[in-house]
Symmetry: C2
Subunit: 325 residues, 2 copies
């Protein structure tokens, strides 16, 4: 896992992945008490950064593997990223999803041309279903984060951040990144180490699902005690990855933790001042930038808004925070 | 009023105005039955394209005029565009606003450093107040649309559209543009005439405020019968401008007209599939692209989403259209 893989991924992603801008607003700077730059990966195709890793992994496969196809386990953003990447490579894609996944996410993934295999969370074993399908058809599994080509793809967001912040004259800053399994944050950390060493990566997580913050603090991998019940579902994972954690331990931290209410309020601020749609899990880094100013000494914070696939009802809940403010 | 003025404005705007991307989504293409590209000027600084015209006009002033300052009449997007442009040029800005303007718009404009002068719509004469202030302090009036340097500034969005669509291999398309006084649509029309002559401009307006569509159809300027009561307040003006209309009559049309409900549904589609926040008046061109497919023969429609300054309550109303769909 190194910077050359990220640069190679960037070359493969050219034309397929959108270079998202760096946004800013005087109002957000005023709230945070420092300069805040926002990297809106919610504007990425499929609505999240996950297309980067999916495309990187799929495009790295040899022709014979592409012909057989790929498989992924995901009910959300990774599913759509892999599905779109596979379709554009004319590779069959099988996405294994829990049968209680939101209908809209199932429909969106199917619309991208993927074959959806549903399983019952209570009575069926997801991994067994996936392994049987993969063996039968010779499918390649695209893991969501603990996979070198996926980390390399997510790291391309870091190369963009490095170039874009240098173009603005920003050489010293902290980069706050929403963190589930750590694919995005570790990829960005590796990219910035090479391309903009004055940028320091900080992971951001929701309260009660702060496995990465605790792992970084203790120096070894810690697990979450529960795995459901968070509005920030997109970034809830059991624990940091075996590949991602050593990278984060070397290059990132301390981990930032925000409340769900702060994530919703950050969504409302992004609506009002940047005119972008961010999902709760995608808003935790912006929430840390806006509402935890004491946790950083940096003059500039770059907050990644990692995705924007959110139901209208949850978004309306976030907007209600604006009216109350 | 010519292309050289637009190119000169683009040089002055460099670094001050964001080059907004062209967004797209397979879901929107499917609804429209053709390729739809979206130019999200809601992501512009201040949340609308109005910064382009404001910056162009302010930056064209001689030093002595900048020192005295500028004045604008506006309760909305033009106010913020002029206020930000003036602040960055160290020029005083006076914005004359009706006292019943939304508190948030008054606050946002004041936050940008402008002096706000409020007047009573019923008992006071806005133009008399403005003229007295301008004369007393030697302020330069920045008109919202019928002013060459403002049209030139708005035209820079057209130069971007021309370059970006050519980069995608699109040489023939229709460009749907929300139209109030016609500054944006006439500027884009002039830019495309020179830089991408295969792009045809179509104005888009809300029902009952379709002065431009009727003017284009009849060949002479027609007025709206009423001037309030539209959700699309940002693009409601009494009539096309004396400078903008001849340009539109030569280069644009026929005019497109959508209902308020269609504008709200377009906002919901932009939320769900592009993750951007668009205001009702800014969504009329996207509404025409999505819901009036019969009105164009083009393979590709480029829809400008001109602004995103919308109250949470109105946005929630738009989201409710999504739940109903």
């Amino acid at each position: 896992m190194n910077i050359d893989m990220i640069r190679a991924a960037e070359a493969r992603l050219k034309g397929a992945v959108r270079e998202t801008p760096l946004l800013s607003s005087p109002a957000l700077d005023a709230i945070a008490g420092r300069r805040v730059l926002v990297k809106p990966e919610c504007l990425q195709h499929t609505g999240s950064f996950k297309l980067r890793g999916g495309w990187s992994a799929v495009s790295a496969l040899p022709p014979v593997a592409l012909e057989r196809g790929v498989i992924a386990f995901s009910s959300g953003n990774h599913a759509q990223g892999v599905a779109l990447a596979a379709r554009r490579h004319s590779a069959p894609a099988v996405i294994v999803m829990p049968s209680d996944a939101p209908a809209v996410k199932i429909a969106n993934t199917r619309e991208l041309g993927a074959e959806i295999v549903l399983y019952d969370r209570v009575t069926e074993d997801r991994d067994a279903i996936g392994a049987a399908l993969a063996a039968e058809r010779g499918l390649t599994l695209i893991k969501p984060f603990d996979e070198p080509q996926v980390i390399a793809g997510q790291g391309t967001a870091g190369l963009e951040i490095a170039r874009q912040s240098l173009a603005l004259g920003v050489t010293e800053a902290e980069v706050f990144v929403p963190c589930g399994g750590g694919g995005l944050s570790s990829g960005i950390a590796l990219a910035c180490e090479a391309a903009a060493p004055g940028l320091r990566i900080r992971t951001a997580e929701p309260e009660a699902f702060d496995d990465t913050a605790r792992s970084l603090a203790s120096g070894c991998i810690q697990r979450n005690t529960r795995l459901s019940g968070s509005l920030c579902d997109a970034i809830v994972t059991p624990q940091p990855g075996n590949l991602t954690f050593p990278i984060l331990a070397r290059l990132a931290g301390p981990g930032l933790v925000v409340t769900e209410d702060e994530a919703l309020r950050a969504m409302a601020m992004a609506f009002a001042h940047l005119r972008i749609v961010v999902e709760p899990g995608g808003a935790v880094a912006l929430a840390a930038a806006l509402f935890h100013p004491e946790e950083s000494q940096a003059d500039t914070v770059i907050a990644v808004c990692s995705g924007g696939n959110v139901d209208a009802a949850i978004f309306a809940l976030a907007l209600s925070k604006l009216e109350a403010a």
